[in-house]
Symmetry: C3
Subunit: 315 residues, 3 copies
């Protein structure tokens, strides 16, 4: 299946076919397997430079991409766009083209405006991977969620997965919806009506406003982060009320399926999206998600790089 | 002696035996010796990832740990906790566990709260080395002070060492007191009464409020930094008065022992803790301390890593 | 010619002979040639540590030096002086000496005060390369401008080069003037009278206040950046007026020499120093300058390092 991969950019799961998603997951599984057997470091991207171009602050995703690139043998460079020439009036395209001109091969891009990574692909020759753009997509987060579910259940096919919380602002939700549907899962989005986009059912998902209503028929619950820093208006009366209706508690775990999987993209607000008891309990695979993020990003960068090499050779 | 080392964490000199401290110093001396003969780079930590997890700003100590880890062949990653998810409401334990889940082997931790590195050892499988916690300890600073004194005098046994200045807030003082006593030195703490903890004599140190009183019988004077940024109250009337009573001057050098060693953990305030004449004079070993810091940190990381490997193999 | 190189520091083009400048350009051309043939990475500085010591923020120049050093096989460390002990009262010389004591071999220094890199050479044993000091010099920027012109025209000899804009505050202008004159070019400085130093003709340059007057007889036009952040007073009535008189437009390109080269040190203000049409047009070599910056910095660091090795061996 890997022979089919030809993308130099990974901008979102909406663009990828089921086969392409599976190719990434399989490649990630291979890297994880090798690491478990002591082969954690590779030279597949030796001599290659990967730049983290983050126009929005992020320590966690950036660190994960950094470690993934270095495990492949790449050189990494961080370009903290906030502290940079952007503040001197330069456009972000000029900034990116300048970095490219310094000999960078791949850009890992985060930006508060949806669509920015796509725009960059129109102006650069480097590979571009979207590390989160506005409320659009965060494909490697979606992929690591898929990977983690598949790892525990063997397949996504036929599973019912609930995305709980702030669907309106969540790029993680969007990437999950596309990926889960393509791999055959049924998706329920669940949250306060104010945080669920009006036309979301058009994406082929079920909508629920009561976590308790869907608890018994859900195999996987992905607890989206309440992004206090992203909400300009008041979308729910209080954190307390949110936690009452949508927080995952030991009590709700008891009423859920026996083998329910609890995911959360993190950083988590203990006592809000889930209680400490659930976060640290046997159903939680939260830290496994973080570990899998490394392998999914290694797989993504490796596949992109192979496509880039082929592309350059063909010119 | 090295065969006895079994600690995966280095949290403070209070915990270490004299033998363990000597093991680190000997290992550091070996690395320094190799570097002097052109073997500055090693592969002992090849494939290992060391994370600097600093919840308090520090450029100097972080850089020293970074260079030490890389000289051992390790990969390093900085996690600037201030700019990170902590500000999004995550607990510091969750932050650390997330970093661990990304495949980090050792954490170098600085935090403004005493005891934080210890707490992390209770929640992580990684090695933890304390790079300064509150007013508790800064063990590698203590070790590099011991190393520097031993390098110049051959032994700590029987020496009289004065720690001068702000004993109350100084983690460097605490690490020095534990280490010096264990290796057989006599310790005098000297400073304004407001900056000396009431019960400090219980640690087996002599207390002096007048630098001039102890000048003639002291082999080593360690001039602690006046940490303006750490003092919330007014502990002494003025910097001028502090410098008059506790500042090391050319005049005081003349009245001190002929071969007195002047140490300072830095960054120094020229004209406060010591005059430029003293800082750059023949008794000062301040820059030697910085160089030795590199080797002491290499030794610490290497010993910790050997213990970790043994621990993982035994599981 | 390379055999003659003996400088451990590169502080400005004023100090360098024409032969020395040519040596750097030739060495840079060699590195570029090797990169074009697939040999982008070297081990010439293996085991060497290069520190970026930036007392003024800069992402672009720092990244370029970082990538250059790593392509030579060096280890790099950034020392963000703003966030460091400087704020704790330490002098910048003490900061630099501390970094040196950690085992750094070369310092890349940027500082808002002219002459700072020179002062450091008086107190350090490391190599020092000036990455921009006040309004004095920015030699590697000057070198990459020379390199780019020579690359396109074969020689600097006999060319007429105009530096347009804020000559008063521009260290880039100063480095260009010295370098261009030494390699045989005629230099015109052109800008508002308020932004041209009174005695600049003493450097052997022609002065013009009207870009349109010199357009037809100029081979190369280097559009200096209007540094809004550096101007304390009002040096010209408005940006609009500046762009009218000194901005490079498609119309001016039509009136210029057919093969005129357009350079700009960047980051550019589109619509001020030049229009997007010009910036992205066939005469612009702006991105080529960025790429060449990498090779010029590799050449500079490599030559400095050879001189340092010779110097250390001779002691």
């Amino acid at each position: 299946m890997k022979a089919e991969w030809s993308r130099r950019h990974v901008l979102g799961l909406e663009d990828l076919s089921a086969d392409e998603i599976t190719t990434i997951l399989d490649e990630a599984a291979r890297f994880k397997d090798l690491a478990d057997r002591g082969e954690a470091r590779h030279t597949l991207l030796k001599g290659v430079t990967v730049c983290n171009l983050f126009f929005e602050p992020s320590t966690r995703t950036k660190t994960s991409f950094n470690l993934a690139a270095r495990r492949l043998g790449a050189d990494t460079v961080d370009f903290a766009a906030a502290a940079s020439s952007l503040s001197k009036g330069e456009t972000f395209i000029d900034t990116a083209r300048n970095i490219e001109a310094m000999g960078v091969d791949h850009m890992v891009v985060r930006h508060s405006t949806s669509g920015t990574p796509y725009i960059l692909t129109q102006h650069l020759q480097t590979g571009v991977v979207n590390a989160g753009d506005g409320t659009h997509e965060h494909p490697t987060q979606g992929l690591l969620d898929l990977f983690t579910i598949r790892e525990h259940r063997g397949t996504l096919e036929g599973l019912t997965v609930a995305l709980v919380g702030d669907i309106l602002h969540s790029r993680v939700a969007r990437s999950n919806i596309w990926g889960l549907k393509k791999l055959g899962a049924k998706v329920i989005v669940c949250g306060p009506a104010t945080l669920i986009p009006a036309e979301i059912h058009r994406l082929g998902v079920e909508v629920s406003y009561q976590l308790d209503d869907i608890l018994e028929r859900t195999d996987v619950i992905n607890l989206l982060r309440i992004q206090f820093e992203r909400q300009r208006g008041a979308f729910f009366p209080s954190i307390y009320e949110y936690a009452q209706f949508y927080g995952m508690t030991a009590d709700r775990i008891r009423r859920a399926k026996k083998d329910v999987l609890i995911l959360a993209p993190g950083p988590i607000n203990r006592g809000v999206e889930l209680t400490p008891e659930v976060a640290d309990g046997p159903h939680s695979v939260i830290l496994g998600q973080v570990t899998n993020g490394l392998f999914v990003r290694m797989a993504t960068l490796h596949l992109m790089h192979q496509a880039r090499e082929k592309h350059l050779a063909s010119k």
